[in-house]
Amino acid sequence: MKKLGIIFGTLFLGINANAQNMQAQHDTTQRIEEVKIIAIAKKKIESEMKMTVSVDEFLASSDKISFIKRGAYAWEPLLNNMSTERSTITIDGMHVFGACTDKMDPITSYVESNNLATIDIKSGQEGSLHGATVAGSIDLKRKSTPFGLERIWSGAYQTGFETNNKQFFNLGNLSYSSDQFVVDGSISFRKAGNYYDGNNDEVNHSQYSKFNTSLGLAYKTSPLSSVRIDAIYDRAKDVGFPALPMDLWLSRAIITSASYKQLFKKGLVKVWDTKLYFNAIEHYMDDTKRPENLVHMDMPGWSNTYGLVSRANLKHGNYSSEIQLNVYDNLSIAEMTMYPQDRSKKTMFAYSWPWVTTRFAGASINNSWDFSEMSQVNFGGSLGWNYNRSKYVEFNWIFYPGTPQEKNRVLPALYTNYQLHINQFNFSVGTGYGHRAPSASEGYGYYIYNSFDRYDYIGNPDLKNEISYEANASAGFKNEKMGIEAKVNYFHIQNYIVGRILSLGSPMNYQSVGVKGYTSLNHAKLFNATLNGNYDVLQHLHWKGTLMYARATDDDGGNLPFIRPLSYHTSLHFMHRKFNFQTSMNGDFAHKNYSPEYGETLSRAYRIWNISVDYTFKFKNYRATLQIGAENLFNAYYSTYADWGNIPRMGRNIFTSLKFDF
């Protein structure tokens, strides 16, 4: 339970800033060590029900994250009920952009749980450190073993089987640590067939297979400095998307970086860390397995990004600060080639991303000042420059004649937050202001088919910046036996970008019913609230519960899509000797505030029950854990508000896994 406390504490309270301070304090040991908290975090990528989870399953255990699901793989994470354009998703601060116009490849699909140390989620403008954002930031932190650990070799191996979709996985990671040299390596395979819903019907095209490997090498160049190179290679093949009219044939990502880190014993600056990075993503769809498609279409996409992230941590007395410089250049290309029934005839070709370049350069700062024992103030901001260029701007001119080929934007952000701790109570209030630029699709997309509302979407290069005004507050109470915390945030977003039906043009994609253009609403309002509680019923019996509520409306008072209805999660955890028993229940209430305008229909309430038990034993230097459990124990048939095309979710799934640590 304590462990879980740390997990959730780190994830949701944004202790990361403090983690950086800890790092600074460790300098006195005159060793380059990664922060202790990251070492602890090695065991963090697991949910309370399952010890071997996918990145998606892990993210799902956060109460700030919900998912749009198009199948069993590559779920699109929504932060604060906002889609991925509104959040910055980074891997160790590196920007990576998916290569699929239909969002079949969120960045989270290019990593694997065994090469991550933790996932750092920040809400709203507090997440502006990595770049302009509205919803916040999700930073996937890779494993990075410290130099000179007592244990030279360490690692883990996990294997398991899930019965519902016959998922079989093998995950292994190994680390070597000496005083001079560190190696981190991981490799993973996952393969799953179609899953079955709660009516025991097979959901066709829901299979997937994924291979992921990573390697990191660090070398200590002096007692206070080190260099590190990292690479992740990910390949997903034959991935079904039951909610879409096509599947994924192949997606590949290579994510590389080289960094230099310098610690300072004296002075204001404690750590300086600079990283150069490059990543290339390719994504090829496949519609040949869908006989319902009248027209065969090739839809390849490519996204290449290179960039620089440079960070310095400063500390003076009870004031600490983190300054970061972000620079990146991304080129996104997506094509569509349609083949007429008579294949001898000429194919039809267009770009859905006409070679869209995005360049960003920005400086951000996070400050934290403990001005009394009881209170702390955090404040910061960023100033960024965003540049877009569409190489084949003539595509954009079809709907927006004469629009400029290049566009520059200035993206400022500011936030402040005050925290007060009085005995067992803690309170915080905060506010934020920030801009974001439209994404490649929103700005320059061309006939991007959205199978949810069945419209073709056209980007508008002239969109204004989306401007977010944000307020947040929390109140909590904690003692040795129990804790309770309530958090709310509210976003008033000007120029909120949505797709609106265009009176011009006619659909291009076979299944579509019309054309929508990205336009700015005058404003939109989003409200999120969560209530968390925990209680130790007995010494070894713990209860935890979460209640989440969100509401979002446009300037007409209409509902926005993909907003989580009132939902809950409750769990019990019991420990007995080397056994752990967990059971949890979660569900949504009916999605009454759905948005028919965006293709949503009423999703009914559902409740699912999960249970698992694990047993840990040691032999020699190894620690092994065996787990067996069931998700959706009563085989409920359900589909949530965020299931694309209302595809049913997985029915009863019995999972087993075995993990060795050494």
């Binding site: 290579i254 290339a280 027209v295 007429p340 029934q341 070709f349 079809i398």
Partner: protein, 308 residues
């Protein structure tokens, strides 16, 4: 260590190379259509000490619209002849054996800067055994009239973007519409240029030596409107169209200018409705605008198919 880094870098490059090649968009458009910018000699012949050279784009006469440049030189002095009143008349034999012409500019216009005579011809068929095209050219030099006849070859226009159509309008007049530009459309806004011509029915019987120009007279119609609705006819495209198109109206050079947006490469049909000065429909029907996947698009009775 060094070896390892080297290995990794090599590995990176190997992995970075793409699985599928990107489409070379510019080449994609080029392969189907080559545009011709250059005027080259298409035919040259001599008469009574003068050389007549006619230039056309790519040195070829094609079915459809041809801009022509005619030069007359004195063979002896090899200098440009001081010719005037240059007339140009193409004649062929139609299926029923009648001698017919095609839309053309009869009296060519002198371009003093370049020292040639410019005009155009809209050949309505390709040359073959049954249909031979002859040019009848006359000019005056120093008050002396010259006449000459020359067989030419009209080739098939493989670029469908320069297609033409001929039809009889509701006013019983014979019309010709020919596409002039773009030769090489883009997925973009394209300025669409067309010529619209009418055959002037002769009011008098032929007189004088053959050919009597009054029997073969065509004019550019003025102040008509060509309403445009471009669509993709493939069944799989479901009658797809594009936004922001503009109807064709006449500009000072006599040709009709409008805007067509092509949203992707492939087969397109330009559906037209032709209106006269008073807004009366002379030809063409309104096409359905519904998106009908799986059904071949219905075309206007006045249309030109293009492909790029």
């Amino acid at each position: 260590m060094k070896k390892l880094i080297f290995f990794l870098i090599t590995l990176c490059f190997a992995l970075v190379s793409c699985t599928k090649e990107k489409t070379d968009y510019e080449a994609e458009i080029d392969t189907v259509v080559t545009d011709h910018f250059e005027f080259k000699e298409a035919v040259a012949f001599n008469t009574e000490g003068y050389n007549i050279s006619i230039e056309a784009l790519n040195g070829t006469f094609y079915k459809g619209y041809n801009e022509i440049r005619l030069k007359i030189t004195n063979i002896q002095t090899n200098e440009d002849a001081d010719a005037s009143v240059v007339t140009f008349l193409p004649i062929t034999v139609n299926a029923v054996g009648n001698k017919v012409s095609c839309p053309h500019l009869h009296e060519l216009a002198y371009q003093p800067d370049e020292n040639y005579f410019s005009g155009y011809a809209v050949f309505t068929s390709e040359s073959n055994i049954d249909s031979i095209w002859e040019l009848y050219i006359s000019f005056r030099i120093s008050n002396q009239a010259y006449k000459v006849k020359q067989i030419i070859t009209v080739q098939e226009q493989t670029n469908k973007n320069l297609n033409m159509t001929s039809f009889t309008g509701n006013d019983d007049e014979q019309y010709f519409i020919t596409l002039v530009s773009p030769q090489k459309p883009k997925i973009a806004e394209n300025v669409l240029v067309a010529g619209i011509y009418r055959f002037n029915q002769p009011t008098n019987p032929p007189s004088g030596d053959f050919p009597d120009p009054s029997q073969f007279s065509y004019t550019e119609v003025s102040d008509y409107t060509l309403q445009l609705d471009p669509r993709m006819p493939e069944p799989s495209m479901g009658n797809h169209s594009s936004p922001n198109n503009k109807d064709l109206i006449q500009q000072s050079n006599g040709l009709y200018y409008g805007v067509v947006n092509y949203t992707m490469t492939g087969n397109w049909t330009l559906n037209f409705i032709m209106l006269n000065q008073r807004g009366q429909i002379l030809k063409g029907t309104v096409v359905p605008t519904d998106f009908t996947p799986g059904v071949e698009g219905i075309k206007s009775e006045l249309h030109i198919d293009i492909l790029f």
